[in-house]
């Protein structure tokens, strides 16, 4: 048997969450005394890097373009490979693509499905896994008794563990299953360079910034720190920023190492999307803003004075 991991690519490159999934899989495989097999659909420029995170074998399906598959076609493809390789556990990232396929995968291979896993199993026989729930207000420890399981891990929650091995790479072709029920006709790329779920640092702005024209300084700060940019709900509702940047209960949930909230009061719906960030900095003029209660570091002050100073200080430490 083996532990199979779906190593997702974006434009033929792995993102951090894929390395995280591979290192998670190799940790699980070690504890089960099994080998780790990584599946890459559509090839990748940097296949070899999966060695560093413990993939004993890399199966690269080169003839299919990942971006062109609908969820049905992708899950069927992965199920076939999982069964052919006598898979026991399937690991993937709880990214949008992961979420598109994880329940179909689990159902078809008759496996227990765990989503939002935030740690490697505490126990292996049976498996015990801690997961995020209640929109970050609590955690649940689950036990899975089925012989097979699918574990969908929350990006940025486990981190990268290096575990260098020598990988055997196998390039091959697979047939795509015909499926006309869903036809992808267009992709509209976000303008932001860094994916929010993947970003180590996220700079987020709220209504306190007074208008979309004032995001220049947020973007400058984000650029310096190689950070993603996000916003609160009112900001996306007023179309100051695109919906794809809205973090919170009805937007996306993130858990970066550092979340800097500028001019955001910290309503409970906003916290639902960001409170699992490892460190939170809040900058707000209102000393009563509820966000300070959830923050690690706070500045009561005007964003228009504090942010330019931050940019200046960061330039200093980066020797710019």
């Amino acid at each position: 048997m083996s532990v199979i991991v779906f190593a997702e690519t974006w434009n033929k490159k792995f993102k951090k969450s894929s390395f995280e999934a591979v290192s998670y899989a190799s940790e699980v495989a070690k504890n089960m005394d099994l080998k780790t097999i990584a599946i890459v659909v559509g090839g990748s420029e940097d296949l070899k890097t999966l060695e560093k995170y413990g993939a004993n074998k890399i199966l690269s399906i080169d003839n299919i373009e990942l971006e062109k598959l609908n969820n049905n076609q992708l899950s069927k493809l992965i199920i076939n490979i999982f069964l052919k390789n006598n898979g026991k556990t399937l690991i993937l990232s709880n990214t949008n693509r992961g979420k598109n396929i994880n329940s179909q995968l689990a159902y078809e291979i008759k496996a227990d499905l765990i989503t939002n896993a935030i740690a490697t199993p505490k126990n292996y026989n049976p498996i015990h896994i801690k997961c995020k729930a209640f929109s970050s207000k609590a955690f649940i420890l689950y036990e899975c008794k089925s012989e097979k399981n699918v574990i969908s891990i929350l990006p940025n929650s486990i981190g990268l563990q290096e575990n260098l091995v020598t990988s055997e790479i196998e390039n091959f072709s697979e047939e795509t299953i015909e499926d006309n029920t869903i036809n992808i006709i267009e992709k509209q790329k976000n303008s932001n360079q860094i994916s929010l779920t993947d970003a180590d640092i996220v700079i987020s702005g709220g209504r306190g910034l007074k208008g979309p024209e004032n995001w220049t300084m947020i973007e400058e700060l984000a650029n310096l720190l190689n950070a993603g940019t996000a916003c609160s709900k009112p900001v996306s509702d007023m179309n100051w920023r695109p919906h794809s940047e809205h973090v919170g209960q009805t937007g996306i949930a993130i858990n970066p190492n550092l979340y800097i909230a500028i001019g955001i009061s910290g309503a409970i719906q906003h916290l639902a999307g960001v409170s699992s960030s490892k460190k939170i900095v809040v900058i707000n003029t209102d000393p009563e803003a509820p966000f300070f209660k959830a923050a690690d570091y706070g500045i009561i002050g005007d964003a228009f004075e504090v942010v330019p100073k931050m940019i200046e200080e960061i330039k200093k430490i980066k020797n710019l």
């Binding site: 974006w10 993102k15 609908n70 969820n71 049905n72 990214t95 949008n96 693509r97 979420k99 598109n100 994880n102 329940s103 179909q104 689990a106 078809e108 499905l113 989503t115 939002n116 995020k132 729930a133 209640f134 207000k137 609590a138 955690f139 649940i140 420890l141 689950y142 008794k145 089925s146 869903i182 036809n183 992808i184 267009e186 992709k187 509209q188 993947d198 180590d200 640092i201 919906h243 794809s244 809205h246 209960q249 009805t250 996306i252 550092l258 409970i268 639902a272 409170s275 699992s276 460190k279 923050a295 690690d296 570091y297 706070g298 500045i299 009561i300 002050g301 005007d302 931050m310 200080e313």
Partner: protein, 249 residues
């Protein structure tokens, strides 16, 4: 057109979450229950479709009689009829199987579910339904339009939006974007009155499905230590703390 909206009943967003029986049970005490907010976007979209193109909108829930008040609210907002499958099931696989058994006996063009519930956040039911019913599904759907007999959907992908042309029937796992927050409706007095006479059917079933997944315990996050306040003129101190204490820069 027949539209089904699957609804889960969840603790109100602002609820304080507590557990009892040595952290093995969710404490319902003092908690207000509401329509899962992501399902509410779906319900509102279904009503928009009904108003513009004509449709029959059914809401479906798997749960206990306590959920009936939430289903009545869905009827007051504009659904035509409600079905509750009477069950204490609390695992996604079982809930999906009960729903699938019901859906199989009917014909729906669009089956909406919220992309996840705000309590367990599993996001499993729409995909399970898709497999069980062999009906394709669109996850994280933020837009839905009609083009002849096809549907044009927009869904979130990790680096943007994907536009698809889909056949019916389809399962749509929706969220904000299908409609905007300002479009959500508060039941009118007239809606509440008519909801009383709209059908709410309860289906009893013995087909509980045992899941191999069990909750061992719940855990609350660690209390954050007090926020360290820094004077606005000492931004350098903040940067120093982030670099050397928090080690995140």
């Amino acid at each position: 057109m027949n539209i089904l909206v699957c609804i889960s009943v969840v603790p109100d967003t602002t609820s304080k979450i507590n557990f009892t029986e040595s952290n093995t049970k969710f404490d319902r005490n003092g908690v207000t229950f509401i329509i899962n907010p992501l399902d509410e976007f779906c319900l509102t979209k279904a009503i928009f479709i009904k108003e513009s193109l004509g449709a029959n909108v059914t809401v479906l829930n798997v749960g206990t009689p306590e959920n009936d008040s939430v289903l009545r609210k869905a009827l007051a907002i504009g659904a035509d009829n409600a079905i509750r499958i009477n069950s204490q099931s609390n695992n996604s696989l079982s809930v999906a199987k009960l729903m699938a058994n019901y859906i199989r006996s009917k014909e729906y063009d669009i089956i909406f579910c919220g992309k996840e519930s705000i309590d367990y956040n599993g996001g499993k039911v729409p995909g399970f339904l898709s497999s069980m019913l062999s009906i394709p599904f669109i996850n994280a759907c933020v837009g839905l339009d009609f083009e002849n007999e096809f549907l044009i959907t927009k869904n979130e992908i990790d680096d943007g939006i994907q536009v698809c042309k889909c056949q019916k029937p389809i399962i749509i796992a929706g969220q904000k974007g299908l409609v905007q927050e300002k479009d959500l409706r508060i039941p009118s007095m007239r809606g509440i009155m008519t909801a009383r006479t709209k059908p709410l059917e309860v289906i009893n079933t013995e087909n509980e499905v045992k899941s191999n997944i069990r909750t061992i315990s719940f855990e609350l996050p660690e209390q954050k230590s007090l926020c360290k306040m820094i004077e606005p003129e000492n931004v350098n101190e903040l940067i120093d703390l982030l670099q050397n204490e928090a080690k995140v820069l």
